[in-house]
Amino acid sequence: MSDSRVKKRMRLKGLIAKEFLQIWRDPSSLAIAFVLPVFLLLLFGYGVSLDARQVPVGWVVDKTTPETTGFTAAFQHSEYFQSFHFADMAAAEHALLAREITAIIRLREDFSSQLFKQNSPAIQVIVDGVDANTARLISGYVQGTWNEWLSHLAAMRGTTLSRPVIAQQRIWYNSAVLSKDFLVPGLIAIIMTLTGALLTAMVVAREWERGTLEAMIATPVTMGEVLLGKLIPYYLLGMGGLLLSIAMAVFLFDVPLRGSFWVLLLTGTLFLLVALGMGLLISIIAKNQFVAGQAAIIATYLPAFLLSGFIFNINSMPPVIQAFTYLVGARYFVAILQTVFLAGDIWPVILPNALALALMAAVFFGLAAKKAPKRLE
C-alpha cells in the first residue's frame, strides 16, 4: 500500500530530523562526536610518543684518546641522545639516582687498546630500568650506534671488522620508525567506537530515562523504525568522525595513505556497524544513562584501547588475552587501518579482517533485533 509507505517514510524522516536536532543542541553529544576525536588525535599525534628522543646520557671517560672522542662525537650527532660528561662513576651514579640522566656510558682506560680485539667488552652501559620500555629502547639505540661507529671506523682504517655477522637493519613501511604514523591510524578505530557505541548507547538510554521512548512506542511507529532512526544519524556521525580523522591524519600529521581511500570508507562502514550494533545492544539491556555509559566504556572503549593492537602488540600478550582479542571488533579494524595507511591495499590482510567485521556486525544486529523491546518489557 503506497499510503502506508508514505507514512513510514514520514515517520523515519521525522525521527532522523529529531535526532539531528538533539545532537546539535546537546553539547555533550557534539563533544563526544567531534571535540573528543580532535583532542585524542592531537594528543596522540603530538603528545604521546613511543620513540626515545633527546635521552639524557651521562658519559664517564676514564682516559681520553682519539677513539673515545670519536665515539662520544658519534652520540653528539644523534638526535636520540643528549650527552653530559662526568669526571668519575660516583658523580654519574649520583646523577642517575637523581634522575637527571637515564643512562651512563663508561669507557674504560683500555678502550682504545681493546677496541679491535674479539669479544671484548670495551664499554659499560648502565640504564635506569624504572621505565622498562625506555630502557629497552635506549639499550637498543646504544647498541645500534656502537655498531655503526665501529664499522665506520673500520672502513676509515681500511680494515674489515673482525666480526662474523654485521646486522644491517632496514625497517619497512614506517622507515622513520615514527610512532605517530602507527598510532594515528589505529586511533581512528577508537574514535569510531566512541561515536558508534558509547554515544549511541547513551542516547537510547536517555530516551528510556526521560520516558520519551514510552510515549513514542505508543504511537504507530514500529521498533524497526525507532532503531533505524537511531542508526542512520549515528552512522553518519561516525562516518563524519572517520573523514575528520583521515583528513587530520593525512594533512596535519603527514601520515602516508598508501592504500585506497575507498577501502578505508568501506571497511570503516563495516566497523561502524559493529560499534553501532554493540551500542544498541547495550542500550536495550541498560535503561539508564549511567549504566549504559559504564557498560559501553568497559565493553567497547577499553577493549578497543587495550586489546586491539592499537598501542600494545597483540603478539606479545599472554595466550589467554590473545584469544580474547578475537572478540574485540577494533582488533580487525586496527589491523586494516595500519595496513591501508602504511603498506597499501594488501588484500590478504584486508579481506579476512573485513570478513570478521562483517560477521561480528551480523551477530550484534541479530541479537539487537531479537532483544529489541516490542513493548515496554
Binding site: V6, K7, M10, R11, K13, G14, L15, A17, K18, L21, Q22, R25, D26, R210, G211, T212, E214, A215, M216, I217, A218, T219, P220, V221, T222, R375, L376, E377
Partner: protein
C-alpha cells in the same frame, strides 16, 4: 481512520480478568490482580488509588505497551495482544512526565509527533493552529520544551497526544506537579475534546477533586479494583456520616489530633476553619466527641466528598493506624521569638532569577508552609535557608545565626529532608539511622538512645533490618524524617515530603508533623498540594520566585472571599492570586 469494527464495539476499553506481575530483585510483585472493567464509549473515567496500587501498569496495559500475564485487554473490541499495530492509531497515550523532548522546541515536538502519526501537510497546519490556540501555546512555539513551566509542558504533552485525534485518550497522572490554574485549563481541553469528538478518556490522578469531575471513578489498591462506579455512588456510601467539628478554645490542629484515631472515627482532617470527620455511624460521633471535650465542641453534618469514601474504603483494608505517643495535653504554644528571618533575598542562576526579593519570618514552634507549583522557587529558598546555596543578595538569619557568616554553625541546629529523601538504599533502616547520627557527631550512648527513639517513634522497629531501598514510599519518608531528626534539631526543613504520596500516607505524615511541632520544633514544609496549607500555622504562596501572599490559612482564604464564593478553598485563593498577577 475509524472502521466498521471500532464503530460496532460498545466498549472503548475492556479488561477481562487481567493479571500482571513483575519481578523486582528476588520478589515477584503482583501489579494487577484479576482486574475486570469496561468503559463505554464517550466516558470520562478517573483512576485513583494509593501509591503503588498499579495505576501506571493499568494505563500501560490499556495503551498496549504491556501485555497481560493472563486475561484479555480489548480496545474498541480489538485484542491488544495481536492487533496492537492497528490500535496505536486509535489510542492517544500521554505517559507521566508527558513524553516530551526537552531539547526540542514546542513546534518541533508537535512536528515530530505529527510525523510519527503520519499526518499530512494540510491537516497538520490546521491541527497545529487548533491545538496551539486551545492550549495557549501559540506565542511559545519556538521555545524549548525544557524551558516551559510544568503547566505548559503538560499542555504541550496533551497537544502532542491529541494531534492524531485519538478515540481513546489515556493520561497517566497528567496533573502531578502542575499548578491549579493549569489543571483547570487541562480540564477545559478534555471537556472540549469529549464534547466535539466523543473521545473516551481514562486518566489516573492523585487529586481526588479531579476524580470527582469524572463520570466514572475506579479505585485501585494493591493491584485490585476495589470499586468502579460514579462519584455520586461513592459519596452515597458515606452519606450522613460526615461532619464539621469546631471547638472554641482548641486550635484546629489540636482538635484534629484528638479526634483522629478515636474508635468510631475513620477519618479526621483539617478543612478550612474546622475539622472534617467521617464516622462509623451517627452514634459513634457523639461518643467520640464526648471523650474529646465535655460537650463544648460544635458539630454539624456536611455533604460527603469522594475523598471521604476513598479513605474509608482503604482504611477498611488496612490495619488501623496506631496513634502511639499521642499528645493529650495542649501543645507548647508558639513562642513570640523569630527563629528564621529572610530579608530581601534574591537568587540568580545565570540570567534566570529563581527567587525574587523574598522576605518573611518564622516564629519558634510554628509549622510554616511554602506553597506553590513546581518551579515556583520553593526548593531554592529551602536550600538557601539550610546554607546549601548562598543567596545572590539579601539577608538570611536562621536560629540567630547569619548564614553568610556561619553557615556550618546554623546547620548543626537544623534538620533537612530533601525531595528525594537522600537515604542510602542499600543500607538497612538501622544502618541509615546510625550513619546519620554519626554524621552529626553523636556520642555512642546518645546515638543508641536516638536510634531506639527513632525506631519507636516512627514505628520502624519491624523494618529495622530491611534495606531502605525496599521500603514503600511512605516508610521511606518516615525514615528520611527520622534521619533528619537524629541530632534533635530546633528547625526541621521538609522539602515536598508528600509529593507522590497517597492521601493515606499524607494523613499519617501530617499527624506526625503536628506532634513534632507540639514539642516545640519549628517545621518548614514545602508542598504543591493546596489543601495541605490548612495544616500550617502560617504560610507563603510562591509563584515564579515571588511571594504572592502570606498569612494564616484563614487570612489567605478570606482575601478570596466573594459573593459567588462565600467559603473559598485554598486552591480558589491561589487561582485568584495567580490570575490577579497575570495581565
Amino acid at each position: 481512520m475509524p472502521d466498521s469494527r471500532s464503530d460496532q464495539a460498545v466498549f472503548a476499553l475492556e479488561f477481562q480478568a487481567v493479571s500482571k506481575c513483575f519481578i523486582a530483585g528476588r520478589r515477584t510483585v503482583d501489579a494487577l490482580r484479576n482486574v475486570s472493567l469496561a468503559l463505554p464509549k464517550g466516558t470520562v473515567a478517573g483512576l485513583v488509588g494509593p501509591d503503588g496500587a498499579g495505576k501506571t501498569t493499568l494505563m500501560r496495559l490499556a495503551a498496549g505497551l504491556l501485555l497481560p500475564d493472563s486475561g484479555r485487554v480489548a480496545v474498541f473490541g480489538r485484542d491488544s495482544s495481536n492487533q496492537a499495530a492497528q490500535l496505536r492509531g486509535l489510542i492517544g497515550y500521554m505517559p507521566q512526565r508527558f513524553g516530551l523532548y526537552e531539547d526540542l522546541s514546542v513546534a518541533e515536538n508537535l512536528n515530530l509527533y505529527a510525523d510519527l502519526h503520519g499526518i499530512g501537510r494540510e491537516e497538520r497546519t490546521q491541527r497545529f493552529q487548533e491545538l496551539t490556540r486551545m492550549t495557549n501555546l501559540t506565542p511559545f512555539s519556538k521555545r524549548l520544551a525544557g524551558r516551559l513551566s510544568g503547566g505548559m509542558k503538560q499542555k504541550l504533552g496533551l497537544a502532542c497526544t491529541l494531534l492524531s485525534q485519538p478515540q481513546l485518550l489515556l493520561l497517566d497522572e497528567p496533573s502531578v506537579g502542575v499548578d491549579p490554574v493549569s489543571r483547570r485549563e487541562l480540564w477545559s481541553i478534555i471537556d472540549q475534546q469529549v464534547k466535539t469528538s466523543g473521545t473516551t478518556v481514562l486518566l489516573s490522578t492523585a487529586y481526588l477533586d479531579e476524580a470527582e469531575r469524572c463520570m466514572e471513578v475506579m479505585l485501585l489498591d494493591e493491584g485490585e479494583l476495589l470499586d468502579h462506579s460514579s462519584p455520586d455512588a461513592f459519596r452515597k456510601k458515606v452519606q450522613g456520616r460526615c461532619y464539621r467539628v469546631t471547638h472554641p478554645d482548641l486550635s484546629n490542629r489540636d482538635l484534629q489530633n484528638r479526634l483522629s484515631g478515636q474508635p468510631g472515627i475513620t477519618d479526621a482532617v483539617i478543612q478550612g476553619e474546622a475539622v472534617r470527620i467521617v464516622c462509623d455511624s451517627e452514634d459513634s460521633v457523639n461518643a467520640a466527641l464526648l471523650k474529646t471535650d465535655n460537650g463544648r465542641t460544635r458539630i454539624e453534618p456536611i455533604a460527603p466528598r469522594l475523598e471521604d469514601a476513598f479513605i474509608e474504603l482503604l482504611n477498611k483494608r488496612r490495619a488501623p493506624v496506631r496513634q502511639a505517643n499521642r499528645i493529650t495535653e495542649a501543645s507548647v504554644p508558639v513562642a513570640d521569638e523569630e527563629i528564621i528571618r529572610v530579608d530581601g533575598v534574591d537568587r540568580w542562576f545565570g540570567d534566570f532569577q529563581a527567587v525574587k526579593r523574598l522576605s518573611f519570618t518564622v516564629r519558634r514552634g510554628e509549622v510554616f508552609g511554602l506553597l506553590g507549583a513546581n518551579g515556583a522557587g520553593k526548593t531554592t529558598t529551602f536550600r538557601m535557608l539550610c546554607g546549601l546555596l548562598p543567596a545572590s543578595s539579601g539577608r538570611l538569619q536562621v536560629a540567630g545565626v547569619d548564614l553568610r557568616k556561619a553557615a556550618a554553625r546554623a546547620r548543626a541546629r537544623i534538620g533537612y529532608m530533601s525531595q528525594k529523601f537522600s537515604l542510602y538504599s542499600n543500607l538497612s533502616v538501622s544502618q541509615n539511622l546510625a550513619f546519620f547520627s554519626s554524621v552529626y557527631g553523636l556520642s555512642n550512648a546518645r546515638r543508641d538512645d536516638r536510634i531506639q527513639w527513632a525506631l519507636q517513634q516512627f514505628e520502624l522497629e519491624a523494618h529495622k533490618d530491611a534495606n531502605s531501598g525496599d521500603l514503600s514510599l511512605g516508610y521511606k519518608q518516615r525514615l528520611a524524617i527520622a534521619c533528619a531528626l537524629m541530632h534533635e534539631p530546633e528547625i526541621l526543613f521538609l522539602d515536598e515530603p508528600t509529593s507522590g504520596v497517597d492521601p493515606l500516607a499524607r494523613r499519617e505524615f501530617w499527624n506526625r508533623t503536628n506532634r513534632l511541632a507540639a514539642t516545640g520544633v519549628t517545621v518548614l514544609v514545602t508542598t504543591h498540594f493546596m489543601e495541605e496549607a490548612e495544616y500550617c500555622d502560617r504560610l507563603v504562596i510562591m509563584a515564579e520566585g515571588d511571594i504572592l501572599t502570606s498569612g494564616t490559612p484563614s487570612e489567605i482564604k478570606r482575601q478570596a472571599r466573594t459573593e459567588a464564593l462565600p467559603d473559598p478553598t485554598m486552591e480558589d485563593a491561589f487561582i485568584q492570586l495567580i490570575q490577579a498577577k497575570r495581565p
